[in-house]
């Protein structure tokens, strides 16, 4: 019975095999089952709509429109979130501030990911003294508490960066500074993850197989290993967005963040603690928005982590 017939039987067999779920499908299913992640995603979409959609209803000029007669008005029908110390409408400012906060979160993570992946990949793949050197540097950066480093860097770069024009809008140069410094001070963790991933993946048999095939180092790094470490990078990147938004808020809160007139949720809070009692709406609304955004991103990140984690797969028998 064996011999030639064998291949035919196998082919028949293959018809019986149920279509396995792709890792993508499994990820989606696991993600969707994660109720908080779905909630986070919905929240996030709403917040993005709020920040970017709101821009279609109100102009930036309105966000910066001051009327000293209207200062520190509590929330009302006119100004649902109240007004600030120069009578600007807080609602509109949170819309425009949200854009910058989200932009900072995303862009800082891009910087972080580029740095982290590059350093982690090189260190992990080549090993030896390159690894030693890069990891010492990483460790040195790691040893300084991030907030301290951020503050020092914020001052270092904070001299004066000219304003930039993007998408027809004027951004305070400090936005770029904040993006860069958050990126510069947060890549270390990712670099470690990527390095660890590379260390383990480079011993994986499919990478060895690529070596036996004669594939070049470049394509091994970028075509074999990197696509397979993308899951932890995405997860860590997502959570980093939350951290970057928080970092921005922290440095802005301490007065070293994005400079006015560009509003961010963080710098709207700056000085607001002088009004803890007298004008709580000054800090409650931007504060809540930060919390909501960070919370949503953390939910999504957590969901993603569960979704890409193969341990979450339930095996039978």
């Amino acid at each position: 019975m064996m011999g030639t017939a064998e291949s035919d039987v196998i082919k028949i067999q293959e018809e019986f095999k149920t279509e396995a779920l792709t890792p993508g499908q499994l990820m989606r299913m696991r993600f969707v089952r994660h109720k908080m992640a779905v909630f986070g995603l919905i929240m996030l979409v709403i917040l993005i709509l709020y920040s970017f959609g709101g821009a279609f209803i109100f102009t930036e000029a309105e966000a910066n429109f001051t009327n000293t007669k209207l200062r520190l008005n509590p929330p009302s029908a006119e100004n649902p979130f109240g007004t600030d110390t120069v009578g600007r409408d807080i609602l509109i400012r949170t819309i425009y501030g949200g854009q910058i906060s989200l932009l900072i979160g995303l862009a800082a993570v891009v910087v972080e990911v580029v740095l982290g992946v590059l350093i982690g990949a090189i260190a992990g793949y080549y090993g030896g003294w390159i690894d030693g050197l890069l990891m010492r540097f990483t460790e040195a950066m790691f040893n300084i508490p991030q907030l301290f480093l951020l503050l020092v860097m914020a001052k270092f770069f904070g001299g004066s960066v000219p304003d930039i024009n993007l998408f027809g809008r004027q951004f305070s140069g400090s936005v770029v500074v904040i993006i860069v410094i958050i990126g510069l001070t947060s890549w270390m963790y990712l670099a470690r993850i990527v390095r660890a991933n590379f260390l383990s993946l480079k011993e994986r048999e499919f990478v060895l197989a690529a070596h036996t095939t004669g594939t070049s180092n470049f394509s091994i790094i970028f075509q074999h290993i990197l696509p397979n470490s993308i899951a932890p990078i995405i997860v860590s990147g997502t959570l980093s967005v939350a951290n970057a938004i928080l970092s921005e808020a922290y440095i802005s809160f301490l007065g070293l963040g994005v400079k006015p007139p560009t509003a961010t949720w963080g710098n709207m809070l700056e000085g607001a603690y002088n009004y803890v009692e007298t004008a709580p709406w000054l800090w409650i609304f931007p504060g809540l928005l930060i919390v909501l955004t960070v919370l949503s991103i953390n939910f999504v990140g957590d969901g993603l982590r569960d979704a890409v984690d193969p341990h979450a797969l339930v095996d039978a028998g």
Partner: protein
């Protein structure tokens, strides 16, 4: 069992830290950790006092938002530190609530009339009182004056500022009560600047002899010997400072026993402390809180201290051509609704001003011919139009004849009210077609030197805003002198505004003019010139605000020496 372990560990650690933090002797003597109940401290003072003395000590508590960096008068220029000097130090002459000088350590203030000043204005002689003593009983003599001068001039001491002593050729102390100051040329601003804080020679000389410098002296941080109505009792970094009355004060012993400075980190905390009655005095309060204080029955004092918040215009060659155009500057001056800023942002506690000299108008240095700039956007627009700035592309921003948009950079330091003003100004200037790009820096960056690339120093900003004063109460200022322009050769120059030969000449002339009337005339010229050319554009007068418990009596403030009569203060009941 594990929980017990945790608890034990925690208790040990807390007790340990407590002991570490509260080991200073002056803390209320309480056996630590034995009675850690929350109500305990409330009863304690009551329980203790009857045994010790019949009356509770009178303590006035200041809420102090910034902790002094040093109590040595020449190692700090921090307002929150210098202000305290009337507590524990003494000046040769001090100023009353009208900012008029009155003699303190000297018999009388030198003048040409009383012979204290030589006719050529090159020699000033002081005669000291004979009853002045340091708080430890040592007499205060001319040697202390001479010592102070010597210390200032010694490079090893790295004092913050040698001004104005570097204008002297020498100081002599021919006898215990005579101090002679020799100038190479007349120095009109002497009164306002000399002998602020005399150093105790008998304390510092040994330190100087031993270390070659007084920088490391314990006295700098812990001036337990002074010549003011109070002496420092203790200073816990980050927390509080306590002054106790000087039993040897020659004017009379202070009525209030202790002055307690509680360092509160921010305005909100200060406001809370004042409202709650936890503090009797606070200062540098946000204007927005003033009505709250008044409602709560606290007294608010507004004291002119010479400071004026204004726009320093950069008319150097690197500045925008537009700002160097006097028409544009005048248009700007008419475009800003300064009254609204004063009324709304500062709650009417202050008023718009025209010149840097407005807050010392008591000296009448401001030209009576000045016509204040009025808020008139239409006139401003016309002015711009006439000067050739029109909005040719319809984006709301005017362009010059070459099509360059009228963009000006406005820079200031990070402070809430300044950022608020920036926001308002940005909008109001936009209404007349000027695009104000605003930026702000931390003050150590903003006020950095030319070599550090500080934005004002290198001329990156067209308009710079901060609050400044003359050598108050003297009208002198040297900001606009041509030889102060910063450059590679002169990196420390601090004329960030520009060289106007005419103005330079006027400023040079006034400083050597010993005749007050003539000097006043020069200043009329200066103020009128600067105002009409908008070389400096005043926003508002920046008085010191003091909030005081209404129960305190005898409270008066001077803009120069705030606590000049603190030894007379008392509680009403």
């Amino acid at each position: 069992m594990k929980i017990k372990l945790w608890l034990t560990l925690m208790t040990i650690l807390i007790v340990f830290s407590m002991v570490m933090t509260s080991c200073s002797p002056a803390a209320t003597p309480e056996p630590a950790a034995e009675q850690p109940s929350a109500e305990q401290p409330m009863e304690e003072p009551a329980a203790e006092t009857p045994m010790e003395e019949a009356m509770e000590p009178k303590v006035v508590t200041f809420a102090w938002t910034q902790e002094p960096d040093s109590l040595h008068p020449f190692y700090t220029n921090m307002w929150f530190s210098a202000t305290l000097q009337q507590l524990y130090l003494c000046w040769a002459w001090e100023y009353d609530d009208q900012n008029i000088a009155y003699p303190n350590l000297v018999e009388e203030i030198p003048s040409v009339e009383n012979g204290g000043i030589s006719d050529d204005g090159l020699t000033i002689t002081l005669t000291l009182r004979d009853d002045i003593v340091w708080s430890d009983g040592t007499p205060l003599t001319s040697a202390d004056f001479k010592f102070t001068y010597d210390m200032l001039m010694d490079d090893a001491n790295s004092v913050n500022s040698k001004y104005p002593y570097d204008a002297l050729t020498s100081v002599e102390a021919p006898d215990e009560r005579t101090v002679v100051m020799n100038f190479p040329e007349p120095f009109a601003a002497w009164e306002a600047n000399f002998w602020r804080g005399i150093l105790p020679k008998h304390i510092l000389q040994p330190v100087y002899d031993a270390e070659g410098s007084m920088m490391g002296a314990d006295w700098n941080m812990n001036p337990t010997v002074g010549c003011g109505p109070y002496v420092l009792d203790e200073w816990e970094s980050g927390s509080y400072m306590r002054f106790t009355k000087n039993e040897n004060y020659w004017k009379g012993i202070a009525k209030i026993d202790d002055v307690f400075l509680q360092f509160v980190p921010d305005d909100a905390a200060q406001t809370a402390a004042l409202l709650a009655g936890d503090a009797d005095l606070g200062t540098f309060i946000p204007a927005s809180d003033v009505p709250t204080f008044q409602d709560a029955g606290l007294t608010v004092f507004t004291v002119d201290s010479g400071y004026a918040e204004g726009w320093f215009i950069n008319f150097r060659e690197m500045a925008s051509p537009a700002i160097r155009d006097v028409e544009v500057r005048q248009a700007i001056a008419m475009a800003l609704d300064r009254q609204a800023i004063s009324d709304d942002l500062l709650l009417g506690l202050t008023h718009p001003i025209e010149t840097l000299w407005d807050p010392i108008a008591g000296g009448a240095y401001v030209s009576p011919d000045i016509v204040p700039w009025e808020y008139n956007p239409e006139a401003a627009k016309t002015k711009l139009e006439n000067a050739g700035y029109v909005d040719s592309d319809g984006d709301g921003i005017r362009e010059d004849l070459d099509g360059n948009p009228l963009v000006l950079v406005h820079g200031t330091t990070i402070r809430e009210i300044r950022q608020d003003i920036q926001a308002v100004a940005q909008q109001q200037l936009r209404e007349i077609g000027i695009d104000l790009a605003i930026e702000s820096q931390d003050s150590d960056i903003f006020f950095g030197g030319y070599a550090d690339g500080a934005p004002p120093a290198i001329g990156e900003q067209d308009i710079m805003e901060w609050s400044d004063s003359t050598y108050f109460p003297d009208p002198d200022t040297d900001y606009w002198l041509c030889d102060q322009l910063p450059s590679e050769e002169n990196p420390y120059g601090y004329n960030y505004y520009g060289c106007d030969e005419a103005l330079d000449a006027l400023f040079q002339a006034q400083l050597v003019e010993t005749d007050p009337a003539a000097r006043q005339a020069i200043f009329h010229e200066i103020t009128k010139y600067m105002h009409d050319n908008v070389l400096w554009y005043g926003i508002y007068s920046d008085p010191d605000l003091w909030v005081v418990n209404s129960n305190l009596t005898g409270v008066k403030f001077s803009g120069v020496t705030p606590f000049y009569n603190i030894w007379e203060w008392d509680f009403a009941n």
